[in-house]
């Protein structure tokens, strides 16, 4: 199953899912097959062995596999365990890294709402309320837009949401020290770390 995901080919993934569903439970296929394969894709991407189109093709193939298994899932697992809103702060048009993080979080099982780049603070808050999110990912790629991450945290406090919404920050100029300074719950260096930090905080 993992090899099928790494091949980035939807037909191979669907064939592997079909073969596995008679032998394994659906949650097991997703977690130990599809998600494990996506983790391998993430590792290969970070090592410069696979590229962004491959990551997206693998993600699409994984989604097709998950859709195929939906009918086999126990009812209690219908809703995603955690909901994450992800976006790049206002004034900052950088998108690529944040999109990779959204994709990797999604394939790790989180329900992700990507609000895009150049997103005003109000958009973060509105989407968090709309989706009842329990984490927000705030990206900034320039030193001049970094304060936007702090503004999102301040807005969460003003709205009385801070206690129920974890905050993850990332982007080239963001650091652990900066995350501590502005009161974020975590800083992630890259997409793989974003997934592991989200799991630590939410699962």
């Amino acid at each position: 199953m993992s090899d099928a995901i790494v091949s980035c080919k939807k037909d191979q993934v669907l064939a592997a899912v079909e073969k596995a569903r008679g032998e394994l439970e659906a949650p097991d296929i997703i977690e130990n097959g599809l998600a494990a394969g996506m983790n391998e894709v993430g590792t290969l991407f970070e090592r410069g062995k696979l590229f962004l189109p491959h990551v997206m093709m693998a993600a699409e193939a994984m989604q097709a596999g998950v859709d195929e298994l939906k009918g086999d899932m126990p009812e209690s697992s219908d809703k995603a365990a955690s909901v994450i809103v992800n976006g790049t702060v206002e004034g900052d048009v950088h998108d690529i890294g944040k999109t990779i993080v959204s994709t990797m979080l999604q394939t790790a099982g989180f329900e992700v709402h990507d609000i895009g780049r150049d997103a005003p603070v109000a958009d973060f808050i509105a989407k968090i309320k709309e989706t009842d999110a329990n984490m927000v990912g705030v990206s900034a790629l320039m030193t001049t837009t970094l304060p936007g991450q702090k503004e999102v945290i301040e807005a969460l406090e003003e709205e009385g949401l801070r206690d129920k919404v974890k905050v993850m920050v990332g982007g080239a100029p963001a650091t652990n020290s900066w995350a501590k300074k502005i009161g974020a719950d975590c800083y992630a260096e890259n997409a793989t770390e974003a997934v592991s930090k989200a799991k630590e905080l939410l699962l």
């Binding site: 410069g48 590229f51 189109p53 491959h54 997206m56 998108d95």
Partner: protein, 355 residues
């Protein structure tokens, strides 16, 4: 209690470590680079030399006599008059004044003129202004003055340009459309960068610095290499510096090639032969700083990558040293103890030709 030495985390935080801890981090950092790039780790002697540099009791260190190298500045004029909450010091000064301060006051060996946007594309509508500024600077200065800007393929995509944003297309799983968009943008950027430099060469410009090549992925690298090739064919004697944005070329497209070589996923020692083949005179390798690791780990990793790049190169390598690259902490105004240690290590261990 064991002796401890003051050094930095990758985010600039001051920390203290024992000699044993420093050596362990040096080994791990070098091993990480060797593993990723499939290149040799630093030798025991080289790691000892790095440890000595890091543990030097002086706040500022420098190279040994006779090992001085040229220092090249990029958009330095904006650091004089810029004041946008970044490293600019906000002193009102024209670009001519800024360039001359670097030449006569700061000891820069080469300098560059750049536009406030610092990307090639926005220079097109103000090319006459840039030509005039370049001509006046050349009349007043002695050191080689290049024109510098970022290829910045991002400006060719919506909402800033005519082509659909491949990030949006990829998110919608429109892989082929995303690749076509990158190819179109790459061809336009190649044409624009070449056109801009053709005009600046008419007013006595000494050459060009392609700064942060690859920032928008392999399409960015593609456009830069083909523009370098075109400029080298048209102007055999100009200086062309190819400076990278990151250590590994991000594969936004994944299949773009230059002279038969796939551009995605290349590490610095694999990038430099292509820059050389295209016609660059100088290559600027980059190694990114991991903010969660110590400066010992980061420096060893950067030096390992850079040493391999210097070995693979037949043209001078002027390593990128600054905020978040070259083993220097990711900090708006990087601490001078870390900057000078990293610079000394790059010259004395990695063997770079310039900074």
């Amino acid at each position: 209690m064991a002796n401890e030495y003051i050094l930095r985390m990758g985010d600039g935080e001051r920390i203290s470590m024992t000699r044993e801890q420093i050596i362990a981090d040096l080994r791990e950092g070098s091993a990480d680079a060797a593993d990723l790039g499939d290149i040799p780790e630093l030798s025991g002697d080289e790691l000892d030399k790095l440890a000595d540099i890091i543990m030097d009791s002086n706040r500022i260190v420098s190279v040994e006599p006779g090992m001085q190298v040229p220092v090249t500045h990029d958009i330095g004029t904006l650091r004089i008059d810029g004041d946008q909450g970044n490293s600019g010091v906000g002193i009102p000064a024209s670009r001519l004044t800024g360039c001359m301060m670097h030449e006569r006051g700061f000891g820069a060996d080469t300098m560059e003129l750049g536009h406030i946007d610092y990307s090639f594309k926005p220079v097109k509508p103000v090319i006459a202004q840039e030509q005039q500024a370049m001509e006046v600077c050349q009349e007043n200065m002695t050191i080689p003055l290049l024109y510098g800007a970022m290829p910045n393929l991002g400006l060719y995509y919506t909402p800033d340009g005519p082509f659909e944003n491949p990030g949006d297309l990829l998110k919608a799983f429109k892989i082929n459309e995303a690749r076509e968009s990158i190819e179109h943008a790459g061809d336009h950027a190649t044409r624009d960068m070449t056109w801009i430099m053709q005009h600046l060469q008419k007013v006595g410009c000494d050459g060009v610095n392609f700064d942060t090549i690859g920032a928008a992925g392999d399409g960015d690298f593609y456009a830069s290499l083909y523009s370098i090739k075109a400029l080298r064919e048209e102007f055999p004697d100009i200086y062309i510096e190819a400076g990278m944005a990151g250590e590994c070329t991000l594969g936004m497209h994944g299949e773009l090639e230059f002279e038969g070589n796939v551009l995605a996923g290349l590490w610095p020692h694999e990038q430099v032969p292509l820059a050389e083949e295209a016609g660059a005179n100088v290559f600027g390798p980059v190694c990114n700083t991991n903010t969660s690791k110590s400066s010992a780990w980061n420096l060893a990793r950067s030096v390992t990558f850079t040493k391999a790049t210097v070995s693979a190169s037949n043209i001078p390598c002027h390593v990128n040293m600054g905020m978040g690259v070259g083993g220097i902490p990711m900090f708006e105004t990087p601490p001078i103890d870390a900057v000078t240690r990293a610079s000394k290590a790059m010259v004395e261990v990695a063997g770079v030709d310039g900074v």
